[in-house]
């Protein structure tokens, strides 16, 4: 009798439209009493040994030792805090602002006393970003960020290479910006630091719904973000929660209140339909195999056997997200695609796949923008892989243990 009841309940549950707990939640380190016999971190390393030794050849051992060793951080100065004071403090530690150095690096020298032609706007770096790092070979650590006098944290510690996609995007004042996979919020914060998202048209933030105007009473789907807005989205609500916390700690309330920042938890793949042709600049920092992280963290590691299917579907998901990002861009607008993986399949293949997909299904022309000049600016701080077909790849090296970070800039032509 009991067995029948149990079976009945089980069947009922199956038929009902319950969202089953994803398998990836099953092994929780804090609950499990035994360690998995073949940890996911080891599976990750095996996977990398197999694929990257072929992809990188002789470069792989130095990348491998760097991935397995402690990474290097950069301190992104919070412009909303007492900026000059923070910069001075960081300089005292013998760190230097690599962005400032790179830009001064790139200023062409005047020939024969004539001033050089101004650099074309398309590859100008996003402005107002200051990020300090220690010199090559210096393994010093930054002290943890502190709360400053203005009630916000003084700097944000992140992988300095993560700043490069934001710099490459080349924000300009008044741009409408979309960060499609924003959490946990480092790059979103950097986008805000550029202060290009300044002008406000007063639209209201409502969690989980499309924005409506606060004072003009327009209907729901009429209002689109105006110039100078940042839309930050991530599928996961827990992760957007983290994003909110970052914004709370770093961005003063008045700026957040002016509704210049909209945080949502929708499916990024739908953005083409939701807000097509809307944005000047789009950052698509897709979910990937997070190579460095996967070698150290066991919990929720994507290389667990139970997540194999999910991992194999990643490139497809990435293509869909990039395509959606491009669809959401205004014609003439720019998109930067980035991942923190070394894999060709998640990097160049995705870029090429998305461009082909849009060309065939939407007759959209997308052009990849060369970042060679950009790379040269930052060569002193980062190690770049010399042979990417499209885009640039920062590879970890013990002297500059940043990355992996792949990024590729595109322009939507039609």
């Amino acid at each position: 009798m009991a067995a029948l009841v149990v079976r009945g309940v089980r069947d009922m549950l199956k038929r009902a439209d319950f969202a089953t707990v994803p398998r990836r939640h099953r092994h929780k380190k804090k609950w499990a009493t035994t360690e998995p016999k073949f940890p996911a971190t080891r599976l990750a390393l095996q996977n990398f040994d197999m694929t990257y030794s072929v992809q990188f050849g002789d470069l792989w051992p130095s990348i491998r030792v760097s991935l397995l060793s402690e990474q290097k951080y950069g301190a992104l100065v919070n412009n909303f805090a007492a900026r000059d004071h923070v910069s001075a403090e960081l300089e005292q530690l013998s760190a230097r602002d690599f962005v400032k150095e790179a830009i001064s690096h790139g200023e062409p020298e005047p020939e024969n006393g004539q001033t050089a032609a101004p650099s074309p706007a398309s590859w100008a770096c996003s402005p107002n970003l200051q990020c300090f790092t220690f010199a090559r070979g210096d393994v010093s650590c930054f002290p943890p960020a502190r709360l400053g006098s203005l009630g916000v944290m003084d700097y944000y510690l992140m992988d300095a290479a993560s700043l490069l996609p934001v710099l490459a995007l080349g924000l300009q004042p008044g741009d409408t910006v979309l960060d499609l996979c924003a959490a946990p919020g480092g790059k979103t914060l950097a986008l805000l630091q550029t202060s290009c998202c300044r002008k406000s048209e007063g639209w209201c933030l409502r969690q989980g719904r499309l924005p409506t105007s606060s004072c003009q009473g327009h209907t729901e789907y009429d209002e689109l973000p105006g110039p100078g807005h940042l839309a930050a989205n991530d599928l996961s609500t827990s992760r957007t929660g983290r994003l909110q916390k970052v914004l709370h700690s770093y961005v003063p309330q008045d700026i957040r209140d002016k509704n210049r920042v909209r945080v949502t938890s929708w499916d990024g793949r739908k953005w083409g339909e939701l807000e097509g042709d809307t944005y000047d600049r789009v950052l698509v920092d897709v979910p990937c195999t997070t190579d460095r992280h996967s070698l150290h963290e066991e919990e929720n590691n994507i290389f667990q056997r139970s997540r194999k299917k999910e991992r194999q579907m990643l490139p497809m998901l990435q293509v869909q997200l990039l395509a959606a990002g491009l669809l959401a861009t205004k014609p003439g607008g720019h998109v930067v695609y980035s991942t923190c993986s070394l894999s060709h399949l998640q990097n160049e293949y995705v870029v090429q796949g998305a461009i082909e997909l849009l060309a065939s299904q939407y007759s959209m022309e997308v052009q990849v923008e060369g970042l060679t000049h950009f790379r040269k600016l930052f060569m002193d701080t980062f190690s770049f892989f010399p042979s990417c077909q499209v885009g640039e790849l920062v590879i970890p090296n013990l002297m500059a243990n940043f990355g992996p970070m792949y990024f590729c800039k595109m322009c939507r032509m039609t």
Binding site: G137, Y155, L157, M158, D159, S238, R242, T290, N397
Partner: protein, 352 residues
Amino acid sequence: MAVVGRQVFDWHRLIPLTWALVARRTPHLGEQKRTAAFLLRKLTTASSGGGLEDSSFAEPRKYVQEPECRTRLVQHLLEKQRTAVEREVTSPLLDMGFSEVHVNELLSIQPGTHPQQLLDIISELILLGLNPEPVYVALKRSPQLLKLPIMQMRKRSSYLRKLGLGEGKLKRVLHCCPEVFTMRQQDIDSIVRVLKEKCLFTVKQVAEILHRCPCVLREDPTALEYKFQYAYFRMGVKHADVVRTNFLQYSITKTRQRHVFLERLGRYQTPDKKGQTQIPNPLLKDILRVSEAEFLARTARSSAEEFEVFKKLLAREEEEASAGHVTGDESLEEDEEEEEDEEEEEDEEREL
């Protein structure tokens, strides 16, 4: 010709001396007989004129080659300075193969030492199988040996013989670790115990280790055990190879730095249960015995600057591990840019 004749005559005088020393001791007679036999063997080869290349003969031979007149003059002067007791001791020493110069130096190393004491100590060392030259060098370097009570000296000698360090193996030990006679018995015991009972080396292997890497005697027993465990478990090196490659003589820091560097480069793998690896591991000598420059060029195939950075990072990792507490990244985690794609439940510790 007369020179050779004199040499032979001197060595023949040594035989009765050796037996006299043997007669003084009753226990371990067998071993001493063997030692004496070993010496006799050397003597017979010497007297047949065959063993003149032997190192122990080098000194006197060299000396003898100097102009005869000068030799005689020096001898005459030196003899004048000796006391009667000293002169008693001088001829046995000469018989053992020490040169005149050495004999005089030995007599003056520790002026307060009774010459008989000097002779006794030196005899012990000779009986342990050491040649005169190494004995001279050892005493020069560690004059405190002459202060040892002869009973302690004998006790220690027999203990060392028991460990398998007689018959000339002591030379290297004495050279690297002269305290082997002066250090406390329990300290040597604890090292031997670690090697036998904790590391499970055979008696023969223990003797071999002490002979090849005498510096282990100076190590802290726990540290020595850790070093072995690192070799056996972490690197998959078997007992025989630990002995053969003198693994225990290298500092654990250096070993770990080079090993972990190779491991993270993907050039070294710990063998699995069956002792197999997917890649051929480099030979231990190419890891530990070579200079750092050669290690980087040939084995690691990496640059010196990367290795320097790596050493710093490794030192920091070890510091953080031994500090034990929270993970090293904790202080940074709240601000760390984590590129994650998975659904993640918040760990309370990671809240911003």
